[in-house]
Structures are given as C-alpha cells and as structure tokens.
C-alpha cells in the first residue's frame, strides 16, 4: 500500500499573491482574448496570438514564473504557473504557454537541477532559459503532445551534433524560435529556423500542433540526462494541464448556467427543469473534486512532495475527464446554438478533447498510477 503522508503543510487554497496574479492575467485576457477575438483568428495563417504572448511574458512575467530570478525569471513556482494555466484554459487563449513556458521550460529547468547536483549548471541551458524569461524567444519541447508518463519518447538520432528524425503533433512548435530535442539520452537546442516545422490542421483550433522534421540539422548539446529531463517535463506538464482543465470546465459550467437562466422554452427558463439542473449540479460537484485534485498536484509540484507522482497522475486522469464532460454537456445543453461555429463553445470542446490525449489519456494515467498505489494486475 502507498504511504499515507500526513502533510499539514499541504496548501490547497489560492494565496493572496496567486489571486492577484489571476486577476491581472484575467484582466489582460478579457481585454485581448475575448471569445469573439479568439474565434476570429482561428482560421488565420497564424492562429497563435504572439502579441498577447509577449504581453503575458513581458508585461506580466506570467510565462517565466518558475525560472530563477538570476536568469531573469520570476523565481516563483509551479503553484503560480498553475493559476496562469487555469486562466488560459478559461479563455482558451491561443498562446504557446504549454509548449514553451511549461514543457520546454520544465525540461531545461530539470537539466539545471541535475547540473547543480554535478557541480555546474549547463551554460547553454541557462542562456536559453534567459532568452525565454526575457520574452525574447519562445520554445517547444519536441515530443508528440500525446506523450504519456512512462511511455515511449521520440527516436531522433544524433550523428555528432547533427540531428535526424521526424516528430509528429508537437504542441506550439509552429511559433517556436527554439526547439528542445531529445536524441538518445541527450537534449539538444535547435534553432527552429534550421528545422522543417510544418503546421498541420489540428483538432484543437487554439493549440495547433505541427510536425518537426530534422535532417542532419545542427543542434547544441546540453549536459545531463535528457531523458530524465523530458520525463520530468511530461510530469510537470500533466500536473499543470490539470489546472488548465479546471479552467475549461469552469468556463463551460458558468457559461451554460448563464445561458439556461435566460433561455425560455415552454414558458419557463429551461434552467428551471430538474433534469437539466441535476446535470449541472453533477458537473459542479465534479468541478469541486477536480479543483481540489489540480491544486493538490500544483502544490505537490511546487514542494517536490514525496507522493508527487501519485498526486499528478490522480489529478490528470480526473481533470481530463471532468473538462471533457463539462465541454460535452455545454454543447448539448446549449442546444442548436451549441452546434454552430459562431458560438465559442466548440473551441472548448476541441481543446478539452485534445487535452484528454495531451500528455497521456486518463487510461494511461490510471495505468501508471495503479502499481504506485499497490493495485496490480
């Protein structure tokens, strides 16, 4: 049986500082990423909003929260990062937060940590993190977004420092300046301009994926275990994604509740029909559990808790399902309007469905969790 830690220091609330951060991110998104604007650009050549991204990075420092202050970051942590992810989920803002600020940053930070243990951080990794912290560059971790904890990693080969391989369905790669590429057990930094990055038509309109082709492409070799760094980043990503999913579920629930109060049929607001109220009450109940699980994951990531892996796997397998359920219910309970392109709910459905796959499906997370808590086949 798994240890049952007595952790009085575990904090599942939002601190005042986190609430302030939330308020400033929410204000920026309300002004720059309202649903009409987000919907308006999803069919543009570049659906990702790099002006908004720069505002998040430079004006709010919201994209460099876990990067140390010495490297120009905020020196905050993953609890704060999770709050930003929650707000970005609430607005499905089209910015490369997951790919750059969570996954690529997470892998590079893990390398720095490994370097500290060996007595010297990698200068190239530090330089890359500094560029990210300044908002001078955006990065992507070159793994399929569907990569899951304990699962296979892409097989890019290195001939010296020349990299060759194809990696499909990479999140946020289309706008990345820097690619973080795993070959064997080594991480390489690759200037995106030197690689062939092809955006593909994506299920998720607000987080499009791209294929990355490397053909003897030059990379800069980073010291440390690349595989450990990538696996750590996948775990961080899965934990932070849980908060994004809470944001998605919250938007879907509150938007549907508001609609059912004003939509009249049979001479009554349809929100007064018990069969619909009970579905919304169930969703709210799911959201209460999802928020607690996501906060627990963010807190465990921030404190490096002993049961970090268990807590993240619990949160991701639950929150993915709750976000998707909320989005599917939102479409159904909006009736005909929910099926139209003009109503933004489909953006949330597409994000929630892609997020179900991202960094491991709920089934993959359960499969990884079970042996950790003494449930074996």
């Amino acid at each position: 049986m798994s240890p049952a830690p007595d952790r009085p220091e575990q904090d599942l609330l939002y601190s005042d500082v986190e609430e302030e951060l939330r308020a400033s991110v929410r204000a920026l998104l309300a002004a720059r990423a309202d649903s009409a604007r987000v919907l308006g650009r999803v069919e543009d050549e570049q659906p990702l909003d790099l002006d908004l991204w720069r505002a998040l990075a430079v004006d709010l420092g919201a994209t460099s929260l876990p990067i140390p202050e010495a490297l120009g970051g905020q020196g905050a942590g993953l609890r704060e990062t999770a709050v930003v992810a929650e707000e970005l989920g609430r607005s499905v803002a089209p910015v490369p937060f997951l790919g750059s600020a969570v996954l690529a940053t997470g892998a590079l930070l893990h390398l720095l940590g490994q370097g500290a243990e060996r007595g010297g951080p990698d200068a190239q990794a530090e330089a890359a993190l500094t560029r990210l912290a300044e908002g001078a560059a955006t990065a992507a971790l070159v793994i399929p977004l569907s990569t899951y904890p304990g699962g296979p990693l892409p097989a890019v080969s290195a001939d010296g420092d020349a990299l060759t391989g194809t990696v499909r369905s990479v999140a946020d790669a289309a706008v990345a300046d820097l690619l973080v590429v795993l070959a064997g057990d080594v991480l390489f930094l690759v200037e995106a301009a030197a690689a062939r990055v092809t955006p593909v038509v994506s299920l998720d309109l607000t987080r499009p994926v791209a294929d990355v082709v490397l053909d003897a492409t030059p990379g800069v070799r980073l010291s440390g275990s690349g595989e450990a760094a990538v696996r750590a980043a996948v775990l961080v990503g899965a934990g932070i994604l849980a908060s994004e999913q809470v944001g998605i579920a919250e938007w879907c629930l509150s938007t549907t509740v508001a609609y059912l109060k004003e939509r009249y049929q049979f001479g009554r607001p349809v929100g007064s029909f018990q069969s619909l109220k009970h579905r919304l009450a169930d969703l709210w109940q799911e959201l209460v559990l999802a928020r607690a699980a996501a906060r627990a994951a963010a807190d465990a990531l921030a404190t490096g808790a002993e049961d970090l892996e268990i807590t993240v796997l619990v949160a991701q397998s639950l929150c993915a399902a709750v976000a998707l359920h909320a989005a599917e219910e939102a479409v159904q309970l909006h009736g005909g309007i929910g099926m139209t392109w003009e109503h933004p709910v489909h953006l949330y459905l597409k994000r929630a469905k892609a997020d179900e796959i991202a960094l491991g499906t709920p089934g993959r997370h359960r499969a990884a969790l079970a042996p950790l808590v003494g449930l074996t086949a």
Partner: protein, 396 residues
C-alpha cells in the same frame, strides 16, 4: 480570563486538567464532567457551556493532547445526533435554562439524543409533515408517526418538529420541540432494513406530552430552526478528515490485493478510476477544511456528500461483483439492533446494501442536486404548487 487564541494556551489548559484529573485513575464520566467544567469539551462554545469562546480550530489541539495522554473520550460515534445536530440547534435557539439543562449530559454521553423529523408521508418534502402538536395548558400534546429514527431505542431526548397550525402554508405552521423519549405516549419499534438488521426505528407518538418550556424557538418558527439542524447534519456527513485509502476505497483495495486470482485488466481500470475519485474527494475534504480554517467556508459540503454516496455505492458494488463465487454468499440476515453503525464494516454484501442508504439519508442525492442548482448555481426553482396553500388543503 480572556479566551485563549493560541495552541500553546490551550495546551496549558489541557495540561492543567490532566494534572488535576489523572485519566488512569479517574472514572470515565467523572473525567468527562471535569473536562466540561474546564471548558475543553468544545472550545468554540461559550464559557459555562463546556467551552472557552475560543476559535473552533483549536479543538483539534485539545483532542490530540487528550488522545496522547490516553484520556477517555465521549465516544462521539455513539452520540452523533446529539453532538452534530441537537447541540448546535440548542446553542442557536435554546433559552439559557435549556442550554444549562441539556448540553452537558448530551456532550458527556450520559444522555443520548435522536431526531424525530421524517415521517412516512414527509421525506424529501419534510415541510409537509403531519405530526400534530396542540396546546393544552402549559403542555403540548403530540400525536403522529416518525420514521428513520436511529438511536431512538437508546435515546433519552429527541429533537422533534411538529405541526402546530394546519391552517397556514406548510412552512409557516411548524414548531420545534425537545421531546422526552421516556414519556408514556412515545413508543419505539425497530424498523428492519435491507441489510436484515434494524439500525433505525419507527416512533409512534400518541398523546405524548411536552412542556412548553421544552420548545426551541418561537411557535411557528420550526422550519427555520430545523434548517440549522439539517445544515449541521450535512457538514457532519461529508466533512470528516480521512487518511489516503480511508473509508470504502481502502476496504475494497485491500480485497483486491487479497485476491489476485480474481484480477482482470478491466476490473483493475475500474477500481483505479474509483481510487482516483476517492483520492480527489479526500483532497476536496482537505480543501474544505482549509477554507473553514481560513474563515471563508465554501459550499463544497454538498458536493462532498453527493460524491461520497456515489463512490461508496460504486466501490461496494464493485467489491461484490469482484468476489464472484463469494459474492453470491452473504454473512447473515439476522435481525438485531446495532448500537453503532459502520458503513465499511462486516462483509462485502453488507457494505453494498448499507451504501444504498448513503444517497438517501441526510437529504437524498436528488434533493442535494436541487440545492446545488438553486442555491449555488442560482438556477430558478421548479414551479411550486404548494407554496401558498394552507397545509390542511394540500393533496396527500
């Protein structure tokens, strides 16, 4: 003396109590009465009523210190209705005389309490209840039938809601009383349930007499008083602190571990899914307690109860199914009256059947969903046909 505000001050008071009354040599009831007099029964209660007027969070410190010293407790599971429902209601609505008379033996366990609310014709629609109380001099005379009364057969007192005015709409005509269970007009009969035993009772009231001095709140204000009781009941059901794998999920996980010959991949995934939800529910409980401690209670309690009922039922149903050949057999159907109820006790069949009550007792899951939808999400209520109709004219 001003109320203590720190754990250190409370620890000093506990140390003083232990110095004066050694738990090893003091008789249980005597120790509990000494603890009451020291204000360490429930520190959040007022001075003179077993408390210190201190922050409620400090109660944990008292419990931990006394448990560490091996002091006897008041067996809270045996007197849960008194502690969780009667006490907060008496504290809120009782007269000084009522508080002085009832609270101390309630807390020490010298007097057990039960609850006379539900009736055969008034379950979810509690406000439709028909047990009549009519005034006779300084007394009220009560006639009617109550049901689902746990601990009625051991109780000295009951909290009771009865109809005192049938000519006004249902919510307006009720009054809240403390009923003496030893009155000759009170008859308790066991109510056998689907598990075979009788954890609950039916209570028949036939001209039972209640002095007006045992009325809680104003005549006609019974609905409002009852809301205080019910709110506390829901908090008590969902709010307990549990370790990882505490409760049903731990029992069923242990059954899984003990029976590798029954494992299938499909069953493992289903169990893991329930394990995940149970762990999230545990986090939600932690979060709710942290909100309470931070002084900003959220409405999560009703979500906790809904999820608790759903998971208890799913887990216990899974266990019976998993046990296959043994799932077809059952421990016993013997009729008896348990003093304590353990949702996770006995065997898989009992757990499965008893869990069916979790979505009915303390507010059905359907009523809870209405409450969440209307009070938390702000959705409009269903059209009401009974709101302005005198109780006596309602169809039944």
């Amino acid at each position: 003396m001003s109320a203590p505000t720190t754990a250190r001050e409370v620890r000093d008071l506990v140390a003083d109590l232990l110095a004066r009354h050694d738990p090893a040599t003091t008789e249980r009831t005597a120790f509990l009465n000494a603890r009451w007099e020291a204000g360490l029964a429930w520190v959040g209660f007022p001075v003179g009523l077993g408390g210190l007027g201190a922050p409620r969070a400090l109660q944990q410190v008292v419990e931990a210190e006394l448990a560490a010293a091996g002091a006897p407790d008041n067996n809270p599971r045996r007197i849960g209705i008194g502690l969780g429902m009667a006490a907060p209601t008496i504290l809120t609505f009782g007269t000084d005389e009522q508080k002085q008379r009832f609270l101390r033996p309630l807390w020490t366990g010298e007097e057990v309490w039960c609850q006379l609310f539900s009736e055969p014709g008034a379950g979810s629609d509690l406000a439709a209840l028909g047990t009549r109380a009519t005034r006779d001099g300084e007394d009220w005379v009560v006639t009617g039938q109550k049901v689902w009364t746990s601990t009625a057969h051991t109780a000295r007192w009951a909290i009771l809601v009865a109809r005192t005015d049938p000519d006004v709409p249902k919510h307006a005509g009720m009054t809240y009383f403390v009923c003496d269970m030893t009155d000759p007009g009170v008859e308790v009969r066991p109510l056998r349930q689907i598990t075979g035993e009788a954890e609950f009772n039916e209570v028949f009231l036939t001209g039972a007499r209640i002095p007006d001095a045992h009325r809680l709140g104003e005549v006609g204000d019974g609905w409002r008083v009852a809301q205080t009781t019910l709110m506390n009941e829901r908090v008590a059901i969902g709010g307990r602190e549990v370790p990882r794998e505490g409760g049903m999920v731990g029992v069923v996980s242990d059954t899984w571990r003990a029976h590798p010959e029954l494992h299938t991949p499909e069953a493992l995934d289903r169990l893991t899914k329930l394990w995940v939800e149970s762990e999230a529910l545990r986090h939600a409980g932690t979060r709710m307690r942290q909100q309470l401690a931070a002084g900003s209670p959220g409405p999560e309690g009703s979500a906790m109860k809904l999820a608790f009922a759903r998971l208890s039922q799913a887990l216990s149903g899974f266990e019976v199914e998993l046990l296959a050949e043994d799932g077809l057999r059952h421990g016993e159907w013997t009729m008896f009256r348990p003093e304590l109820v353990d949702f996770t006790g006995r065997d898989a069949g009992y757990r499965y059947l008893r869990a069916k009550g979790n979505s009915i007792e303390g507010g059905t899951s359907e009523i809870l969903r209405n409450i969440i939808a209307e009070r938390i999400l702000g959705l409009p209520s269903e059209p009401r046909v009974d709101k302005d109709v005198p109780w006596k004219d309602l169809p039944r």
